[in-house]
């Protein structure tokens, strides 16, 4: 059971993503803003975090920056940005501070997100397996 943290300020979107990941077999926890997400990361080790950018109290990008300053294992948790901002400079900035994926919410269906996360884990495990063999 993969443990996922969904940091999203919009109630409905939080609800949709919680439902779809629950039905996809994930353990889902939610945070309502960046600060909330950072608090949660400090007590629980998640397998992946979905982080919105535009959130009150602390933006997703600031939260990601703070996260990468923490100690492992919290520091190494994969982070996917889920946002409606599509500007290249924002995407570039997100990559620089260490995100693993960038999803523009309005352009994908919830199922596509789940598929993408599944693929991410599959690829990761395949790579790990290959590393073990070699």
């Amino acid at each position: 059971m993969k443990k996922i943290l969904i940091a999203e300020d919009d109630f409905f979107i939080r609800d949709i993503y919680s439902q779809i990941f629950l039905s996809a077999g994930y353990t889902v926890e939610v945070a309502v803003d960046g600060l909330d997400a950072l608090e949660k990361v400090k007590v629980t080790v998640y397998d992946i975090i979905l982080l919105d950018i535009m959130m009150p109290k602390m933006s997703g990008l600031d939260a990601l920056r703070e996260l990468r300053k923490l100690t492992p294992p919290a520091k190494d948790i994969p982070v996917f940005i889920i946002t409606n901002l599509g500007q290249e400079n924002v995407i570039e900035e997100a990559f620089k501070i260490g995100m693993d994926g960038y999803i523009i919410k309005s352009q994908v269906t919830p199922q596509q997100i789940v598929n993408e996360i599944n693929t991410f884990f599959t690829n990761k495990e395949t790579a790990a397996a290959q590393n073990k063999i070699t």
């Binding site: 779809i20 409606n84 400079n89 693993d100 999803i103 352009q107």
Partner: protein, 748 residues
């Protein structure tokens, strides 16, 4: 050699003067010749008159003597004759009494003995009679010819005397006796005095030895001078003909005289006419003086005329010159008319009318300039004129207002010193700007350039440039600045609004799509077909709303120049395949045939595969949307020269011609003739065109009503150096991969 008019005139007049002097001198010399010969003639004539007087004097004496001889013959030799001895005595005494110059008359035998002798007192007594010497003259007379003795002087009387010997012939022509008559030559003086000339000329007589025997001054004769030393007398005595030369000498009173002489035939005496030279040549002197005076007078006159004329001429010319110079310096109102009455006046008239025309032309030019100035200053757009060196020559009020600079401070300065243009943040010198390609200038004109003045105030201006041509050469340019700052601000606000609205719309839209898809996934089993269709429609509508929002955002970003295109060397085969494959299902459901024609290999292009995919997706989606059932759509990709060409051809109804040109303009949709009405936002083709142009490619459409439409775009093929450059400059973002629209992941 440069000569003033005055000098030329003076030289001309001097030449004239020299010529006239020469002519005068020549004519004077002819006149002098003539007058001299006239004087000579006159003097000769006078001398001849003198000679004539002497001849007639002797003729008279001879006649007397011949009479006495006849009486002597009749009374003495031929006693039988009519006259008696007493008659002879009477006649002889009578002769002496009546002719005071006859002093003595004696009757001689051939042996020289005096037979009878008479003087003023009557008959001389017999005892006082003596013998005559056998002089040549007596001998001549004894031989039968009248002879005259040499001139001699008596003791008692001072004057010269002569004796005349006359033969007395018998009837058989035999000389019987000789009459000797003593004559006082005093009488000659009286005779020659009568022919005294009016010009103080007078006649004197010298004998064959040159002794003076008759002169108007008795006293002088008494002095008994011998004048043979005078060249004239010497010449005349030795020559038989009168000398043609005029002789001059100083006479006894030391007066310079001119004289002519004539030899009296028979007695070889000389009659001289002498005249004071001054008197004789009076006329000549007068004429000479006249010539000289007229010469000097005319010289002065000519000189004066020349000076006056040259002064007159040069004064007029100088005046004209001064006026012309003044006019040359721009004082067109300078009076120029000259009242000289000659060609210069005419010239000044011509000048005046020329200047008048200039004035008129200048006035009309000034008026025109003034009008243009007003026009220029009243324009609300800033107008700036540049010369060929990009220096400012015109700067109107609007330009002053726009830049905050005053025209007087900037005229003559280089445009780049005064005005700074920025394209984004980059400084664009005007010279560079004006040399840009037409297409770029058109865009810059539309978007505007940022312009900052010295105070750092920024404005956005749309620039229009027009070349100033003079004789087919560009000598400058006129730039018009249209202040579009407010327009730009408005545009910014619009874009801000669109961005914000789109973003705000995305969140609820995401929720709608999310729930719709959850519904579709989880409740599918419990729904019947109509329920499933309802959900499907919900999903599709929310998808198209999402597309609309995405397109709006894209347009806003394109307009702000922040629409990102990340070109890299790429083979578009997969991209094209994926797009076509993704739409095949839609085509099938619409019962349309979607075909892809691809060669084995496509050339590598520098492109953003995702963006190009968006363009292709848009083109195929359009084809699907605007064709009827059963239509076929063909997608072709191929290499054309150094371009990759991709086209989408459909068998639809085509696009009306009038619409084609507006097809790529944002918010434009083909309406009217389309039966199924208009779909979409009118943004797709605008975005597609922008994307292709960002790739330095081209997109266009060919269409025939009723037959179909072909949309084509071309992208430049990457050059080997582009590819190698790109590999060297790989950046962090190259580590990203777009797996599908909306999802970007880090390369693992």
């Amino acid at each position: 050699m440069k000569l003033t008019i005055r000098t030329k005139l003076l030289i001309g007049f001097t030449l004239l003067l020299v010529l006239s002097s020469l002519i005068q001198a020549f004519s004077f010399s002819i006149t002098r010749e003539y007058i001299s010969s006239q004087i000579s003639e006159f003097q000769l004539l006078e001398a001849k008159k003198g000679a004539g007087e002497i001849e007639s004097f002797f003729t008279d004496l001879n006649a007397t003597n011949l009479g006495l001889a006849r009486v002597y013959r009749d009374s003495i030799l031929m006693a039988s004759g009519s006259a008696s001895k007493n008659d002879l005595s009477f006649i002889t005494q009578y002769t002496i009494k009546n002719n005071e110059h006859v002093r003595k008359i004696a009757y001689l035998t051939l042996q020289g003995r005096e037979l009878m002798k008479y003087d003023l007192h009557g008959q001389v007594s017999q005892d006082q009679l003596n013998y005559e010497l056998f002089t040549d003259s007596f001998k001549t007379a004894a031989a039968g010819k009248t002879a005259i003795s040499k001139v001699y002087y008596l003791e008692k009387e001072l004057g010269p005397h002569i004796d005349i010997f006359t033969p007395v012939f018998e009837t058989n022509d035999k000389v019987a006796a000789v009459i000797k008559m003593q004559v006082n030559l005093e009488q000659l003086r009286k005779r020659i005095e009568n022919i005294k000339s009016q010009d103080d000329g007078h006649i004197y007589i010298v004998d064959e030895e040159g002794r003076l025997i008759a002169h108007h001054s008795q006293q002088y004769v008494f002095e008994r001078p011998n004048l043979s030393s005078r060249a004239l007398i010497k010449a005349t005595l030795t020559s038989s003909t009168p000398s043609p030369d005029a002789f001059s000498y100083n006479n006894e009173n030391n007066v310079a005289v001119t004289a002519k002489a004539v030899k009296i035939p028979g007695i070889n005496w000389v009659a001289v006419f002498e005249q004071p030279t001054s008197k004789a040549y009076d006329f000549l002197v007068f004429i000479r003086n006249f010539f000289l005076i007229t010469l000097i007078g005319s010289s002065l006159f000519l000189l004066l005329i020349a000076l006056m004329l040259s002064e007159n001429l040069t004064q007029a010319i100088r005046k004209l010159q001064q006026s012309v110079q003044a006019i040359e310096h721009g004082e067109l109102n300078t009076p120029i008319l000259i009242k000289s009455g000659d060609e210069i006046e005419a010239l000044s008239h011509s000048f005046a009318s020329m200047v008048n025309q200039l004035l008129q032309r200048e006035n009309s030019l000034r008026k025109e300039k003034h009008e243009n100035e007003i026009l220029l200053q009243s324009l609300t757009d800033a107008v700036v004129g540049l010369d060929s060196n990009y220096n400012l020559i015109v700067f109107n009020k609007a330009a002053e207002k726009l830049t905050g600079l005053s025209a007087t401070n900037v005229i003559g300065k280089n445009v780049d010193e005064i005005l700074h243009f920025y394209q984004q943040q980059e400084l664009v010198p005007f010279a560079v700007y004006s040399l840009q390609e037409e297409e770029l200038i058109r865009k810059l004109k539309e978007k505007g350039l940022n312009m900052s003045n010295d105070k750092g105030e920024k404005t956005t201006v749309s620039i229009t440039t027009a070349p100033i041509l003079f004789q087919a050469q560009q000598v400058g340019s006129i730039i018009t600045f249209h202040d579009i700052t407010q327009v730009q601000e408005l545009e910014e606000m619009k874009l801000d609004f669109v961005s914000m609205a789109a973003h705000e719309l995305r969140t609820p839209l995401t929720a709608i799509r999310g729930y719709a898809s959850l519904l579709e996934m989880e409740n599918a089993k419990e729904l019947d077909d109509s329920g499933k269709q309802l959900i499907r429609r919900l999903v599709m509508s929310s998808e198209s709303l999402g597309n609309l929002i995405d397109n709006l955002l894209s347009v806003a970003r394109i307009e702000r120049n922040i629409f990102g295109v990340e070109a890299r060397p790429v083979d578009l085969t997969n991209t094209i395949k994926n797009v076509v494959d993704g739409l095949k299902q839609q085509a099938n459901t619409q019962n349309k045939k979607l075909t892809l024609v691809l060669p084995h290999e496509l050339p590598v292009v520098l492109a953003d595969a995702f963006r190009v995919g968006q363009v292709l997706l848009n083109l195929i989606a359009n084809a699907l949307n605007y064709t009827k059932e059963g239509a076929s759509i063909t997608v072709t990709a191929e290499k054309k020269d150094n371009l990759l060409q991709v086209s989408v051809t459909d068998t639809g109804q085509g696009i009306p011609k009038e619409a084609i040109s507006k097809l790529f303009v944002k918010f434009f949709r083909v309406s009217g003739s389309l039966k199924q009405g208009s779909k979409g936002t009118g943004l797709g083709l605008f975005i597609s065109k922008s994307i292709i142009e960002m790739h330095h490619g081209k997109i266009w459409v060919e269409s025939e009503l009723g037959k179909g439409t072909t949309f084509t775009f071309v992208l430049p093929i990457a050059k080997p150096e582009d590819i190698s450059n790109f590999q060297q400059n790989a950046t962090e973002t190259d580590l990203t991969v777009k797996s599908q629209p909306g999802i970007i992941v880090r390369k693992s």
